[in-house]
C-alpha cells in the first residue's frame, strides 16, 4: 500500500462513493425505464461499503461478524427469492423492521458500553435507539397482520392514553440516559423495553387497510434511526443514506395519507372504522347476484370495460387470469382499462406490481385522476376484490369514517359487476353502498375462480 493511501482514506473514499451510488440509484429508480439499473447501482454501493468496513481501524470479532452476516443474509436471500409477489408488502415490512432492529442494536451497544462522548452524541444514540426499536416491533406487527398471523385489531378504551404514557416514559428514560444522570444498564434496558412495547401498542390497533401508510412511516423511521446512529458512529455513509430514506419515506407517507384524505395523525391515532356505526344503517336495497355466463356476454358485447382491482385480486392471485380475460376482450375489439386507486391493496402501487407481473402493459393502467371521468362511458365496471375505494358513501355520507376519501367512480358505469368472496363488509368494516345499487350485480366467488369462469363465458360467446 503506498504511503498516502491509509485504510482511513480508502474507507472514507469508499463511503463517499457509496453515498453517491445510493442517490444515483434511487434517482434512476424513479423512472420505469431506468428503474432496474437503479437497484444495481445501489447494490454496488452497498457491496463496496460492506467490504471496505472490514478494514476499519481497531476492528476485532471477525469470527462473530462473518457468521452473523451470512446467517442474516442467507435467511433474507432465501425468503426474498421464494416469496410470492402478492406477499411483497409484508416482506418489505419485515426487512424494514430488521433494519430498525439493527439501528436499535447499535444504540444499545453504545449505551450499554456507557462511553458516550458528550450530550449531543448520547442524545442522538438514544433518539435513534427509540425510533429504531419502535420501527422494529411495529414492523413485525405489520408483518404479522398482513401475513394473517394477527387477525384482530386490538382496541380498548384509553389506548391512546396508554400509548402516550409509554412514549412519555420512554422519553423520560431517554432523557436521563442522554443527560448522563442515570445511564446504568438497568435504565438502558428499561428504555429499550419501553420503546419496543410502544411500537407494539402503536401498531396493534391499526387496521390492515391502513398498513400502506404504516409501513411507509416505519420505513422513514428506520432511515432516521440509521442516520442518528450514523452521527454516533461518525459514519457519513449512514448519515446520508439514512437521511435520504428518512425524508423520502416521509414524503411517500404523506402522499399516501393524502390519497386517503386522512392526516397521518388520524391514521395513527384513530382506529379505522371507529365512527362507522352510523354509516351502516343508511344502506338500502339488496345485493343482486349474477352468473358468470351473463357477465361474459355483457363484457364481450360492450364497447368499454374498466377493471378495478383490489386486495381480493392479490389474495386470490388472480392477476394472470384477469389479464387473460382482458386479452380475449381486447381481441374482440373491446376497450379495456385498469383503474388503480392510490391505496388499493396494501401498499401504494401494489396493484401495479401485480399487473406488471401478469404482463399488463403500462398504457392500460390508469390513475384515479385519469380514469374517473371515463366511468360514465364504460359499459361494465368490473370490481375485483376492491371495496372501500369504490364505496360511494365516501362522497355522500358525512358520518362515514371514509367520508371525503377520493374514490373511483365505478358507480357511474352502466353496469357494475362485483367479484367478491362473500357478503361481508370490507376490511374497514363499512357497508358498501355500491353493492346495493340498481346497476350493480354480484358475482360471488374467489377472484381467480370467477376470472376462469368469465374466460370460459367470453370464449363461449
Amino acid at each position: 500500500m503506498p504511503s498516502w493511501l491509509s485504510a482511513d482514506l480508502l474507507i472514507q473514499a469508499s463511503y463517499f462513493l457509496t453515498a453517491a451510488l445510493f442517490i444515483f440509484g434511487l434517482k434512476r429508480m424513479s423512472s420505469p425505464v431506468s428503474a432496474r439499473s437503479g437497484i444495481l447501482w445501489a447494490g454496488a454501493g452497498m457491496l463496496v461499503a460492506t467490504l471496505v468496513t472490514f478494514l476499519y481501524p481497531g476492528m476485532s470479532n471477525y469470527e462473530l461478524i462473518v457468521p452473523a452476516m451470512f446467517a442474516g443474509a442467507a435467511i433474507a436471500w432465501w425468503s426474498g427469492k421464494r416469496v410470492a409477489m402478492t406477499d411483497m408488502p409484508q416482506m418489505i415490512a419485515l426487512y424494514n423492521g430488521m433494519g430498525g432492529g439493527a439501528a436499535a442494536a447499535i444504540a444499545a451497544v453504545e449505551l450499554y458500553r456507557g462511553e458516550a462522548t458528550g450530550y449531543a452524541i448520547s442524545t442522538l444514540a438514544v433518539a435513534g435507539g427509540i425510533i429504531g426499536a419502535v420501527s422494529f416491533s411495529g414492523s413485525l406487527i405489520a408483518f404479522g397482520k398482513l401475513q394473517g398471523l394477527i387477525n384482530r385489531s386490538f382496541r380498548f378504551g384509553g389506548q391512546q392514553l396508554l400509548n402516550l404514557l409509554l412514549l412519555l416514559a420512554a422519553l423520560v428514560a431517554g432523557a436521563l440516559i442522554a443527560a448522563h444522570y442515570n445511564a446504568s444498564p438497568a435504565m438502558v434496558s428499561t428504555l429499550f423495553a419501553l420503546a419496543l412495547v410502544l411500537g407494539l401498542a402503536m401498531t396493534l390497533p391499526i387496521g390492515g387497510a391502513d398498513m400502506p401508510v404504516v409501513i411507509s412511516l416505519y420505513n422513514a423511521f428506520t432511515g432516521l434511526a440509521v442516520a442518528f446512529e450514523g452521527f454516533v458512529l461518525n459514519n457519513a455513509a449512514m448519515i446520508i443514506a439514512g437521511t435520504v430514506v428518512g425524508s423520502a419515506g416521509t414524503l411517500l407517507t404523506q402522499l399516501m395519507a393524502k390519497a386517503m384524505n386522512r392526516s397521518l395523525g388520524n391514521v395513527l391515532f384513530s382506529g379505522f372504522g371507529d365512527t362507522g356505526g352510523a354509516a351502516t344503517g343508511t344502506v338500502t336495497g339488496s345485493m343482486k347476484a349474477i352468473e358468470a355466463a351473463d357477465v361474459g356476454v355483457m363484457m364481450a358485447f360492450g364497447q368499454k370495460v374498466i377493471i378495478v382491482p383490489g386486495y381480493g385480486m392479490a389474495v386470490a392471485q388472480a392477476q394472470h387470469k384477469i389479464w387473460e380475460l382482458c386479452q380475449l376482450l381486447i381481441d374482440r375489439g373491446v376497450t379495456v382499462k385498469f383503474a388503480i386507486h392510490p391505496v388499493a391493496g396494501r401498499m401504494p402501487g401494489h396493484m401495479n406490481v401485480l399487473l406488471a407481473e401478469a404482463g399488463v402493459p403500462y398504457d392500460l393502467i390508469a390513475d384515479l385522476d385519469e380514469i374517473n371521468s371515463e366511468f360514465e362511458t364504460a359499459d361494465v365496471a368490473l370490481i375485483i376484490g376492491a371495496n372501500d375505494v369504490v364505496n360511494p358513501v365516501a362522497r355522500t355520507d358525512k358520518s362515514s369514517p371514509i367520508y371525503g376519501m377520493p374514490i373511483l367512480n365505478a358507480d357511474k358505469a352502466k353496469n357494475v359487476i362485483v367479484i367478491k368472496r362473500g357478503k361481508g363488509a370490507g376490511f374497514s368494516g363499512i357497508e358498501n353502498a355500491l353493492f346495493y345499487l340498481d346497476n350493480t350485480r354480484m358475482l360471488y366467488g374467489d377472484a381467480q375462480k370467477a376470472a376462469a369462469e368469465l374466460i370460459q363465458a367470453v370464449k363461449a360467446v
Binding site: S30, I65, A76, I340
Partner: protein
C-alpha cells in the same frame, strides 16, 4: 467531522431525498419504497463497527443480533426490489410492443 458539518450533511441529504422522490409516478411507489428500504440496509456497516468494537458478552450478543438483522435488511431489500423491477422492465418492453 465536526457537528456543524454533520448538520449540513443532514440538511442537504434531507432535501436530496425529498427531491429524488417528488416526481415519482404512482406505479413505482412500491418498488421505490422497497428500494429505499434496501438503502437503509447501510446500517450493516454500523452494526459491523459496533460488533467489531464489542467487549463484554452482552455487547457481543447485541452486536451479533444487529449484524444479522442488518444483513437481512440489506440482502432481503435488494432481492425483493430487484425481483419487482425485473417485472417492470419486461412489462415496459411489452407495453411498447402492445401499443402499436
Amino acid at each position: 467531522m465536526t457537528g456543524i458539518v454533520a448538520l449540513y450533511i443532514f440538511m442537504l441529504a434531507a432535501f436530496t431525498g425529498y427531491e429524488v422522490i417528488a416526481k415519482v409516478p404512482v406505479i413505482l411507489h412500491t418498488p421505490l419504497m422497497s428500494g429505499s428500504n434496501f438503502v437503509h440496509g447501510i446500517v450493516l456497516v454500523g452494526a459491523m463497527v459496533a460488533l467489531g468494537s464489542a467487549h463484554t458478552p452482552l455487547e457481543k450478543g447485541i452486536g451479533i443480533l444487529g449484524v444479522a438483522l442488518a444483513a437481512g435488511n440489506a440482502v432481503g431489500g435488494y432481492v425483493v426490489t430487484e425481483r419487482m423491477l425485473e417485472m417492470f422492465k419486461s412489462s415496459g418492453s411489452r407495453a411498447k410492443k402492445g401499443t402499436h
